[in-house]
Symmetry: C2
Subunit: 328 residues, 2 copies
């Protein structure tokens, strides 16, 4: 069942059928009607595989995300999806946390013409190899970005955000502020650590002994265990800044496990402002990121880049926001 059957039935050429389907050129009303009738009667559906080959487009956008089990990434993906859909694209989702196959394999989907463009939320280490191998491919960096790379990007100013958060903690009188960081392959991790340290130093403080911990994941449990480890190591602290709300929420549990109270004994500050932040006791203070908007922007930038490859590469830094609630 192809366009040929329609053409035959409507008594026109395949070219005319194509014109009707795509509205790509004027067609006499009478002919158009016959074609539409034939399509209707035969229940014809264009074969996108064929169209894609012919037009050399897949209308698929690849999204590489480290872990969409994390509410933060999930929300970004939804932002991406919303503009993709609006523009007639669909999203090919690849969770790279599985780690089984490496990111290069996914990027091959671009080279193989299975996707027209990609949005990469993976660590900048990965992005670098990608950038090196994959010139002349359409992709944008999201959350993880290198200002100086020739790749469009969107994200927030991570160092400044961390600086703001820690400064707030200090202004509230905290002096022994621990830092729960995630995998430092992520640029945002390194930037937030820098912001954390800067804020400390700006106020003549140092990180407490054993007060900087790096976790291997972003689950609640990772946060909980980080605090347990700090206590086991004998660290004394009066505040914790975690680079993710999931980690922070886990940390709050960890504090309680130690028989301490939040925020009386230990204040806790998170990052992202996921919906869950208002569901814990006390509610979580955090650095808000405009997740949906980040996703939207990433998709928009990508689409722009695709439709105008020679235009200057844009870079968008969105505003973060200190959200003060009960935990700090």
């Amino acid at each position: 069942m192809s366009i040929v059957a329609i053409a035959k039935r409507a008594g026109v050429s395949t070219a005319t059928v194509s014109r009707v389907i795509n509205g790509s050129a004027p067609v006499r009303p009478e002919a158009r009607q016959r074609v539409e009738a034939a399509i209707e009667q035969l229940g014809y559906r264009p074969n996108l595989l064929a169209r894609n080959l012919r037009t050399a487009k897949s209308r698929l956008l690849l999204t590489l995300v480290p872990d969409f089990g994390n509410p933060f990434y999930a929300e970004i993906v939804r932002g991406i999806d919303s503009v993709a859909r609006r523009e007639g694209y669909h999203v090919l989702l690849c969770d790279t946390s599985a780690g089984l196959s490496d990111e290069r394999t996914y990027f091959d989907l671009l080279r193989n013409h299975m996707a027209d463009g990609a949005i990469c939320l993976d660590p900048d280490t990965i992005q670098k190899t990608l950038a090196a191998e994959a010139t002349d491919l359409f992709w944008v960096a999201c959350c993880e970005y290198d200002q100086d790379a020739p790749v469009p990007f969107v994200g927030i100013d991570n160092a400044r955000a961390a600086f703001d958060a820690v400064s707030y903690l200090i202004e509230r009188g905290h002096r022994r502020i621990a830092f729960i960081n995630s995998d430092e392959r992520f640029l945002y991790s390194r930037q937030r650590r820098a912001g954390y340290l800067d804020a400390l130093h700006a106020h003549g403080l140092e990180a407490p002994e054993g007060g900087i911990i790096t976790t291997l994941g972003l689950t609640y449990e990772h946060g909980r265990r980080a605090v347990a480890d700090m206590h086991a190591a004998g660290s004394r602290l009066d505040a914790i800044f975690a680079v993710s709300d999931t980690l922070a929420i886990g940390a709050m549990q960890g504090v309680r496990d130690a028989g301490l109270a939040v925020p009386k004994d230990v204040a806790v500050m998170g990052f992202d402002n996921i919906p869950m932040a208002t569901m814990v006791q006390p509610e979580l203070s955090t650095v808000g990121q405009p997740m949906w908007q980040i996703g939207e922007t990433a998709a928009t930038l990508l689409l722009q880049r695709m439709s105008n490859p020679d235009a200057e590469v844009a870079g968008v830094v969105l505003e973060h926001q200190l959200v003060i609630r009960g935990s700090a």
Copy 2:
């Protein structure tokens, strides 16, 4: 840059190049080597668009999910993704909650050959129209399923699970047990309500006045507001059973908002057992579903169906599990 360039460079025919690429037929080592060298040197990548057209396969699996912002669905999708990837497929993710475009549009991706099969987590109302319109398309039902429909399915026994949960609550001495349900377009909602009611009746109880609430979404806030509404309506209750952990966690907040304590004044029981369940105070008692396994099974069933269309349709009911923690 196509297979022709490789053929020319290697001094063989395109057929031989294809054979090397796909390992579909024996090729003399010497020729194979020349082909591989040419591919390497020219940095050739097969055009999947062309291959897909030729083979009439996209190696894409469509996943329709009501809301992957919900950790429950996110985890299922990861289960799906894991087996898809293992079998050389990729996942086209469609979040139907956006509701903008209707599910039929997504299903068209199947008809249009953009996807080889689909996994549908959407309400059975939608599935019914899908089933009616979309005969001879490959798809399976996940979580939402109709035992009697000629569609492979996977899920748990929702009625029995709810029955078990409520029975437990009753055995613990609770008598005024409220029920926070989600959108009843979902079959699981109706089944769990039935299970809830059955358990009550089996013990000679009734649902408390105003004790059954239907929410329009599964966010934490929906759960919180549901409890506020109950209290506003003057309902007195000593336990709450919610059809989702997100709702239940919100409900715990709602109980606290009312100045009551969990579980002393009001016990709370959830459903799903998402990671967050152990991060609230007290930790959430719930009905566990094997999310990852549900996803894996769905993908496996779909793949089976695709490779053997005439085989009998399987139906898989997985076990749920009562997980008792602090909240009930």
